[in-house]
């Protein structure tokens, strides 16, 4: 009993000593208090911003996977004002607005009244385009940032990461993209923007003709997707299977990627324009060139082929029609007025499903298909198709642009292919549509069978893997 009692007393005394030991002062880890450090950080950031006689070159990516980078020249004053001049292609005027540096999630630079930069954050910016479906529904559903009221997704508040000799590094508050402010030294902001504008014009011209990324003797196809953004495509024998966004900014000497790109152990981050060669070249030897060599599947000089998903299961009657089209297109290509009289022209139609879903009990499949022409070793996209089909309805939309080639010489092919597709397919009352799924070697295949109502021996089977 006594033993237990003594044990209790000892326990409580120990507990009291532990709990009541707040007398000794804790040693500070930092010389300054948290508040003083925050104030100091703010002051350093503010002073760095206003300490740039010629201003700062700001390369800003509002929403990295969707859009490329925009360049601004910014001049800050100690009265809390900032003059922003956007790059010429931005089509916005220079503005004079206010900024402040404050403590939030770290030290934050806020552009707190409207300036040119805010155009990228304006929630109404892309609304009209949405209505015209310039942004795909895939964008809307796959990326939470892209929705009504997002605009280009830009920020106008940046968290300070670090201050260097010539650069200040920020991270945008909402989207967490890297924002680099580079002090302008050797040139004036105006001269830089002029040189950058000239470079932009060169790039636009080259990109409109189709560019390839060439490295280690291989080529990857690029499409100029949006303002200062390429998409890189890699193809297999059937169609497009991989697409990678490659956002960049245009500099006064070439282009600079948001993130270094590594393919087959070659890493590139910048390309300089080489005037004499008409290409953009990186230090590592990678180049952006206009299309030269074909994809691997088009190497045979005599072949010309049409692939449209996999219609080998279709009836002979349909395949006969395909052959007629092939022959007509081949004959058309012999016209010396087309493609400068070069006869080696082949046509390819590659398709792939973009969506399969059940809507209200109906199986719907969407297919995106490319129609391309190959001349010598260059590939030209001459049109695209968007197909949507269910068991009861077949919708077919053709879109013929000038393609990568950008010349009017493709017009006869447009009409040829258009007429053929229209005659064969685009007749709602001519075909009945059946959809079935089958499994082969563990893979699921979806077959869509279009059968002519007046002739059951004429059918097309689109086999989607």
């Amino acid at each position: 009993m006594i033993y237990n009692y003594i044990k209790s007393i000892l326990f409580f005394i120990t507990a009291c000593l532990v709990v009541s030991s707040c007398v000794p002062e804790a040693e500070d880890v930092f010389e300054l208090s948290a508040l003083e450090r925050a104030d100091k950080n703010k002051e350093e950031c503010f002073n760095a911003l206003i300490d740039a006689e010629k201003g700062w070159l700001v390369e800003y990516y509002p929403l990295v996977k969707h859009y490329g980078g925009y360049t601004f020249i910014m001049n800050f004053t100690d009265e809390g004002r900032v003059e922003m001049t956007p790059e010429v292609a931005f089509e916005e005027n220079a503005t004079n607005s206010t900024f402040r540096v404050h403590s939030g999630q770290g030290t934050v630079l806020s552009f707190d009244t409207y300036g040119a930069l805010h155009h990228l954050a304006d929630p109404e910016e892309l609304l009209p385009k949405y209505k015209n479906q310039d942004i795909s529904w895939a964008d809307l559903t796959e990326n939470p940032y892209v929705s009504f009221g997002t605009g280009y997704g830009g920020d106008f508040e940046f968290t300070l990461d670090s201050i260097g000799e010539e650069q200040i590094y920020f991270t945008s508050l909402k989207r967490k993209t890297r924002v680099v402010f580079t002090k302008i030294k050797d040139t004036s902001g105006k001269d830089y923007l002029q040189a950058q504008s000239d470079m932009n014009a060169i790039l636009e011209e080259k990109a409109s003709d189709g560019l390839f990324l060439e490295y280690n003797g291989k080529q990857l196809e690029l499409t100029y997707d949006f303002f200062h953004k390429f998409n890189i495509y890699q193809h297999d024998n059937i169609g497009v299977y991989a697409e990678e966004p490659m956002p960049f900014v245009v500099t006064d000497t070439g282009i600079k990627l948001y993130e270094a790109l590594t393919i087959d152990n070659v890493t590139v981050s910048e390309f300089d324009w080489i005037e004499g060669e008409g290409i953009f070249r990186s230090e590592e030897g990678a180049m952006l060139v206009q299309g030269r060599t074909p994809r691997s599947e088009f190497t045979s000089p005599t072949d010309y082929a049409i692939h449209w998903v996999n219609f080998k299961l279709s009836s002979q009657a349909f395949l006969d029609d395909v052959k007629i089209l092939e022959a007509e297109m081949y004959n058309a290509s012999q016209n010396p007025g087309l493609f400068g009289g070069v006869k080696d022209i082949r046509f390819i139609m590659n398709g792939y499903p973009t969506a399969q879903a059940y809507y209200g009990g109906s199986h719907r499949i969407d297919i995106y298909s490319e129609i391309a022409a190959v001349r010598e070793s260059n590939l030209y996209l001459i049109g695209t198709t968007a197909i949507s089909m269910t068991e009861t309805a077949f919708n077919f939309a053709l879109s013929f642009g000038d393609g990568y080639g950008g010349t009017a010489g493709y017009a006869p092919f447009h009409s040829l292919v258009n007429n053929w597709l229209y005659n064969i397919l685009y007749r709602p009352n001519v075909f009945s549509v059946e959809v079935e799924e089958r499994w082969s070697l563990g893979e699921r295949y979806t077959n869509i069978k279009l059968t002519k109502k007046d002739n059951p021996n004429y059918y097309i089977i689109l086999e989607l893997e």
């Binding site: 409580f12 007398v23 104030d39 206010t98 805010h118 106008f156």
Partner: protein
Amino acid sequence: MIKMKNLLFVFIALTVLLTGCNKEEDLGESRLDTTTPPLSELDQWLRNTFLPYNLEVKYKWDDFEGDMKKNLIPTEEDKVKPLMDVMDKVWIKCYEEEGGDDFIKSYIPKLIYLLGGAGVNPEGTITQGTAEAGRKIVLYEVNKFDATEAARINRFFHVMHHEFAHILHQTTLYEVIGYEAISKGKYRSDWSNVREANVEEYLGEGFVSPYSMSSRDEDFAEIIAYMLTRTRQEWDDFISQEGANTEKLKAKEAIVVDYFRNTWGIELFDLQALIAEKIEEITTVVPEEQPKYISPFKLQSDCAQLCSCQEVVHD
């Protein structure tokens, strides 16, 4: 034994209480920066104009004031003074004149926060303004403000009258039972599906707008906003147009007019006339700092008139 336990408790309690911090540190001056930031000419003007009403106008970005779920942008500085000048003349001074000095100073919100762009909602609709507990009004799309056209002014003051109506009825309730009975069963959550062009769908049911179908209080605030952004004649024409249920709208008008008269001592039609008069004055005077906005269509018609006059002269 119990005594021993008590003694032990007292001992522990004293140990805990008496062995606390034994040093008092001088906390010194506050490290928080409470100095007034440098005021621009615009800041000074806002202070001088609205301080008598204890009204703060925030036009610089402050993410704590806006709706954090939306993508919003700050105002253009150049838009602030023209808007707030008109706000003073058309909204504050008119209520002050009709309702008295105490009325406006008591119920005017304490903060107006201005935002440059629209408040776009996920379903594609746009919020033009919000009011919070009678204390704050957030006004969107300030960058679109143009002080030289009545329609553009009224677009903003529709929001102000609407939100101020909420402040008033949240302070003293109107005759809700009678009011709700007029359109009983017609309020609907899918009001955004009603198109403005289909006037019969809402005016026909005694609502001034699709939004007023969303709830009784929104209906009440919308009636007030519609009345105060129109002249008496325009209002009468509006509720008498083809397809409108004039009887229901008149019944709602009567409750609103009674509410203002009996609760706030304001004759709503007098206030309506005064506001219309002020807007007329503003839109007919071209401000020095802003060029008069001329619609491209107006320009074409002026040109056509001018051309035809010249032809007459030549003839």
